[in-house]
Subunit: 339 residues, 2 copies
């Protein structure tokens, strides 16, 4: 059945109840896990109804994993890195690894680049690994919500390590940071590469910065890059969880440095579980998702309002032209919304 | 009349129309400018009505200034720096300087630390300077809105340089960044001082980082700090406006380095007006304030809803305990709100 993972359609013939989904997921049925993720990505109202129920009943079985976010610009080697790390964890640490992805730019026709099974040859055929490409439609908010819910499903399925890929541009890093325990940034070494298009602020939210492709001629440049990033990190204010971000190099394609990287992640987990910040962070993240979802929902209500819609473009223009203040424009629109 | 600036109460005896306020402001009447700012800070509905009208009629006379944000932790020397910079601009550059402040923690009784006239001896008695402490009540959003509107009033009054102080902790930096043209970060030199409690991400939004108290024994440490910050900035991605943040040192109390700092700000203005990013940024800021005000207003509507209020604490607890998903909790609250 695993061969048909991407071809299962939700039809009334195949329709499962939430409980049937849960039982299949808990028993390790990959096809049902995939089908469940497709269900939660769906925007059809009847699917959403079952999906909502499914998430709630999965919740008591979730939480028992380490969630790791991985970002970096296209070309830095995320797929190769995930392949190396995932294989190491399965073969040497007896883990069960799920790989998810957030890529709001992913198009329906092509599927997403991230989590592309064809680039993770070992993992994609491994029974202890589960790879899911990014949902390919909708807003960043919708994609992030689906990913957040997929984590719950994968944990209920028994995966103890969840890797979540995202591209290092756009807004998705903040979303990923808010759903993982450890957030790592993959960089390249080499003069000029430091500017690599990473969005401002990502360096400061990383728990680990790992310089990839530290092989061949690049080894010396990688050492230099490590020192530069350590110096920069030294200038940042301390984290409230007591963790100082670590900088290491690796060569994912040569399978070097992966053990050391995992040891960094393990020491992070040890520190943060000991001092309580691990579970505290997860509570704050839940609260963040509650507020975040409320915000998006009421904004959606507002911007869907017909009268607001008919007036907003004109008022926006008046604001940027300096004809009326943004405050007056906002007040007019809110008054329209309330009435 | 300038002696009574802080003692003017808004009473029906003294009540001015919006047009009378505008005429007073444009003619250079300081007392009326102060009274107008007190008006816009007021939360009384009848004051708010006049305030709204006043802002709209001031708008055509606003915009003709350079707006500079100044942040740094308490103790870094912001007041002394503003005194030195403000005096230089008035005495050597023939400017008219207004000093505003955002300090949401400021208490009604004590007034705010920021913009404290008693620490700016020269400016506080100078006819070409106008100093206003932070509004002392309300939320950060309310304080930021009042400050944003005060800029409009000060510009209508003919001030061509607006300095806006904020403390380097909390959330106010993003608010200030969104209302200024140039955002500068004051730091101290010295081993360990780099960690100084500056919130993560502020370094990356600064257009200039200036190391203060570069005097006496600190001179060498200041040189070292300059190099460290330049190295860190080199690692950040480039700004879309083409500007590379500059790092300099100064000693505000010895009045050293101020000229060089103003030259940096002038070259920033020259670059960004030439390449169009100056006015483009102001347009984006206006749009930001429109969206920001809409967001706060509809959130306020939501959280003021009686039924929502009665359910929200319980649902929040269920979420952090992992009993229900944040998405389900949000949905329940939105359903209550819509009904």
């Amino acid at each position: 059945m695993t061969k048909h993972i991407n071809k299962i359609k939700i039809s009334s013939k195949n329709a499962l109840t939430a409980t049937e989904y849960l039982n299949g997921i808990k028993s390790g049925n990959r096809a049902i896990l995939s089908k469940a993720i497709t269900l939660i990505e769906s925007s059809t109202p009847q699917h959403q109804k079952i999906a909502e129920e499914l998430i709630e009943i999965c919740l008591p079985f979730s939480g028992n994993s380490v969630r790791i976010g991985i970002t970096g610009v296209p070309g830095v080697g995320k797929s190769t890195f995930i392949e190396a790390l995932g294989s190491y964890l399965i073969e040497k640490k007896d883990k069960k690894v799920a790989v998810l992805a957030i890529d709001p730019s992913s198009k329906k026709s092509g599927g997403s680049i991230l989590g592309d099974k064809t680039r993770m040859n070992n993992l994609s055929v491994n029974d202890s690994a589960f790879i899911r490409p990014s949902p390919s439609s909708g807003t960043l908010g919708g994609v992030a919500k689906a990913t957040r819910e997929s984590i719950i499903l994968c944990e209920a399925a028994g995966f103890d390590t969840i890797l979540i890929e995202t591209v290092g541009v756009g807004q998705s890093e903040i979303e990923v940071k808010s759903m993982v325990d450890f957030f790592l940034l993959l960089m390249l070494a080499g003069a000029g590469d430091e500017l690599q298009g990473i969005k401002r602020g990502i360096m400061e939210i990383a728990d680990g910065i790992f310089i990839n492709k530290a092989d061949g001629e690049n080894i010396d440049k990688a050492k230099l890059a490590i020192q530069e990033y350590k110096n920069a990190i030294h200038l940042f204010p301390p984290n409230s969880n007591g963790w100082t971000p670590k900088v290491l190099s690796c060569s994912a394609i040569e399978n070097k440095g992966i053990t050391a990287i995992w040891e960094v992640i393990e020491s992070f987990i040890h520190l943060t579980t000991s001092n309580g910040s691990f579970s505290n962070t997860r509570k704050l993240q839940s609260k963040f998702w509650l507020e975040h979802t409320i915000d998006s929902s009421i904004k959606a209500l507002f911007y869907a309002n017909e009268e607001v819609n008919s007036k907003i473009k004109e008022l926006e223009n008046q604001v940027t032209e300096g004809v009326i203040s943004p405050f007056k424009a906002a007040r007019e629109l809110i008054t329209i919304f309330k009435s």
